[in-house]
Amino acid sequence: MINSVSLKKIVSHYTINTIMVIFLVVNLFPIFWMIYNSFKGNTEIMSGNVGLKKSENTIIYLNKINGNLFVGSSDGAITKINDKSKKIDYYSLKSLATNFWADKDSIWVVSSDKGLVQLSNENLGVIKRITLPNKALPTVEMLRNKPFTKVVDVAHIGQITITGSDQKLWMAAEGGDIRTVMEYDRDSGAFSFIDIPDHFKFDQIKSLQYDKHNNLLWIGTDGVFIRHDLKDKGFTFLTVNLDYMPPGSQGIRILSPKEVLLQTATGLYLIDSKSTTIIKKYFKEDDITSDQEINSLDIFKDNFYVGTNSGLIIVNKVSGLKENKEALFSRIINGQILDKNEMEASELRSTYTDGASVIIGASSGRVSVYDAAVKTVIEKVQSREGHVLMFSSGWRNYVDMWPNVDFWKYLKNSVVICGFTMIIAMILATMTAYALVRFKFPGVKLFSNSILVTQMIPAILYLIPMYMLFNIIKDTTAGMEFFKALFGPGFNGIMIKGSYLGLIFIYSAWFLPFSIWILRGFFAAIPVELEEAATIDGCSNIGVFLRITLPLAIPGIIATGIFILIQAWDELMFAWMLTSDATQTLPVGIRLFVGNFQNRFDLMMAAATVATIPVLILFFVLQKHIVRGLTAGAVKG
């Protein structure tokens, strides 16, 4: 009998505990959700994607070295596949917008958020890590200079394009204002900079290529195509229709000591190395329709293997003819692979060919080997998924938030106003509550009842007269000679509306009744006998208060003070109407923020988190007092 009872007790104990924990999790979920979303980018939020975002792993680099295929993806991962199609090595930089370059025994991986890494061909082990100089990288300052409405999508980091010789590497970042190419000396490890003169008009540097025959550096931008002579440091330029050069592609190929092939989205240009003039253009304007935009290119002998949005086309260098009038692949609906010969052609991002087969890299880590002879895809390789992005791009929201909204101002104002309110209200409430509890003076009942009555009055009934009063004061003092003389010209009337003092006094008066009510309970809990004993010993009233009652009541006073602070921090209506631009508090700031960023939920969540943190910290530090304060109210009633 006893056993079954205690067993029932234990079972119910555990069930209730489980229910309680579930409750707790559900209860805290919104807070977690707020913080979690403040780390995500807006594009994911708006697309309804709830989970953690993984980085894109588009295959942007394919190279065969010594029979091994190196597959590089945009998230900084590089996989080495041997000729038996087995993946034998793997390395990931876990970056965004990565680029690759290979020389005879190493592979270089570069991105603007993780720097430069040199890997060995043999085993993809790290040989060297190099930090890129800040001078030539896209920075947060660039975000700050943008006008208010153009907050950059935080997930976008510009590509760094890379090329190299035996002694040097050249890199340039794709950023709105960057016109510098970094030159890295491989022996000394030193960086120097090549600044492109101002009279070349372009927005972004898109590609680089080193011409070892002529010791030239070819720079592809979205405005002009530049030939930089490394010996005499001269610049020549050529304008072609460089409307769009896709990231990750080698836009410039050295065909021979005399010819350079420039790949743009809408055409291939054969350019003379010496004179920087166009020898030949492949694809006339009307040849290319939008689904034939050029995404990737590889060259074998005299044939260009061009990956476009609708498939792979082979163009002969001399004749300019397309070998196949149609694409080598059929189109696929909605990315569904219908059979093993077909592939989403519009996602071709990299191509590699050795004449017999063509290796195609596409988005989502897909690599396919296409055999030109039998015209089928003979093999497919799937790269690993991209790394989880949550914190690598997450803090950007918090950074983005501040330049557009003057958070420091709001925070400072809130702290000042709420702090002073707390102090003033605490002092007044303590004094009043003590007097009400200890002294039965005429009018005590009236006073305490009227305190209770003030709780009934809605805030707006104070707000309307106050608002108008402040306006009147401003208008009348604007016209008064006395004040004009006092404050000098440019005086527009005493602005109580926008001052700290006005709001502090109003808040103190607004929060006072409730504080008095709570403190009464605390004071009532202190035994009168202590005070009476002190009075008998000849202590004055004020002495009793200061030396005996006050120390005992400190916990209650602190609790009340915190209560006041939390409520004042929260207050929106008064602050909205009675503050001016310079004195707006945090709630008003967030309100305006929401009005301006209606669909930027990521920024809004970041702002919300920042607004919660001060109160959260305060709560953590002082929770014992708060809890005690609240429960004492219940007991004393």
Binding site: I16, M20, N27, M468, D570, L616, T631, G633, A634
Partner: protein, 371 residues
């Protein structure tokens, strides 16, 4: 009390008067006087044009009150009836929700177990989140397409299957809605019939009288921030944010109930349910009373959560989301009808005072029974 003893008493309590002086002066200046001004302003025609004249604006006697109550063409009346109705339902639902949840969790926390104070502190977190953040956060969570709540219900196959196919909750909700509709029809039938006899057409639609529970269909995600669902969209965050307070106070009250009472009842053979009803509930009455009073007052004057949740629109929370405070605020500061705003506030306040007065009487009487 004779005048002489009065003077003596005042002299004796000089200290007390010094102590309450600052607060008294402050409250007179910043509470009492503005309130009187507000009251006086409800009799003035104060709007954008006359606000410069402040208290010398034209005196219209009961004009504002008439406008609000009887004038069908007055712009202040737009949405006022709905605001009243919403506030009424809102305060009832929210207070019940807060007290109910507070009680359940307080009962759960009333046992002794390891880590109890940690869990109790964790439960307090929603109260720490400022109200304007709550409005913002839940405005995001309630989004129809990208909000997490709709996602949880519709995009997780297991949950969706449980919701629709196993528990048929949407059908249950429809049944509940049907019952509510029937009840309202039945209750209002006598009124509509009597009015019909007198020749007055009493047109009502259930959708205008009571916010039915959100209708879930298995294909389309419900819209929470428009339509009648806005009511539930504002009720839930308010309960979420304020129930920890109730929980804390109820817990303190529960812990003050001596165990001996329970033991005595057990010896007498009382079941748990009986123990709950006859010991716990009565002993908590004083806590209930306070929570109820402060809860109702606070919720009736609720403003922050609603105004922040609907910031994306013109700030108008919709038919079912509008509360008295947001309505008055809009009238006063966005349409500049100060006089009318003050009048509505005064009437509202008067109504609440009456309610609280009777509650106070009840509380005093119950106190006297149990003290």
């Amino acid at each position: 009390m004779s005048a002489q003893s009065l003077v003596i008493k005042i002299k004796k309590n000089k200290f007390a008067y010094y102590f309450i002086a600052p607060a008294l002066i402050g409250m007179v200046l910043l509470n009492f006087i503005p309130f009187m001004q507000g009251f006086y302003m409800s009799f003035l025609k104060l709007n954008l044009h006359t606000m410069d004249r402040y208290l010398s604006a034209p005196f219209v006697n009961w004009g504002n009150y008439y406008d609000v109550l009887f004038n069908p063409n007055s712009p202040v009346r737009i949405g006022l009836g709905q605001a009243v109705r919403n506030t009424l339902y809102y305060s009832v639902f929210v207070t019940i929700g807060q007290l109910g949840m507070g009680l359940i969790v307080a009962l759960m926390l009333n046992r002794d177990f390891r880590g109890r104070s940690v869990i109790r502190t964790l439960f307090l977190f929603p109260w720490i989140v400022p109200t304007f953040v709550t409005g913002l956060l839940w405005g995001f969570m309630w989004q129809q397409d990208i909000g997490i709540i709709n996602y949880l219900l519709y995009d997780i196959p297991l949950v969706k299957a449980l919701f629709f196919n196993v528990f048929h909750i949407h059908d249950i909700i429809n049944i509940i809605n049907a019952i509510i509709t029937l009840l309202i029809n039945v209750l209002l039938f006598p009124i509509s019939y009597t009015l019909g006899l007198v020749g007055v057409e009493f047109k009502y639609a259930v959708e205008n009288i009571f916010p039915l529970l959100p209708a879930f269909t298995s294909e389309i995600k419900p819209a929470w921030l428009t339509g009648p669902n806005t009511f539930w969209a504002i009720v839930v965050p308010t309960i979420w944010r304020f129930w920890p307070l109730s929980m804390l106070m109820l817990l303190a009250g529960l812990q003050n109930i001596p165990d001996s009472l329970y033991e005595a009842a057990s010896i007498d053979g009382a079941s748990s349910w009986k123990k709950f009803w006859h010991i716990t509930v009565p002993m908590l009455k004083s806590v209930w009373a306070i929570l109820l009073m402060f809860g109702i007052i606070y919720n009736v004057y609720s403003f922050n959560i609603v105004i922040m949740m609907f910031g994306n629109g013109a700030g108008f929370p919709g038919e079912w989301g509008d509360l008295m405070m947001t309505n008055i605020f809009r009238n006063s500061f966005q349409q500049w009808n100060f006089g009318n705003g003050a009048a509505i506030s005064i009437m509202f306040m008067a109504f609440m005072s009456i309610v609280i007065y009777y509650w106070h009487k009840f509380y005093i009487s119950s106190e006297e029974i149990y003290r």
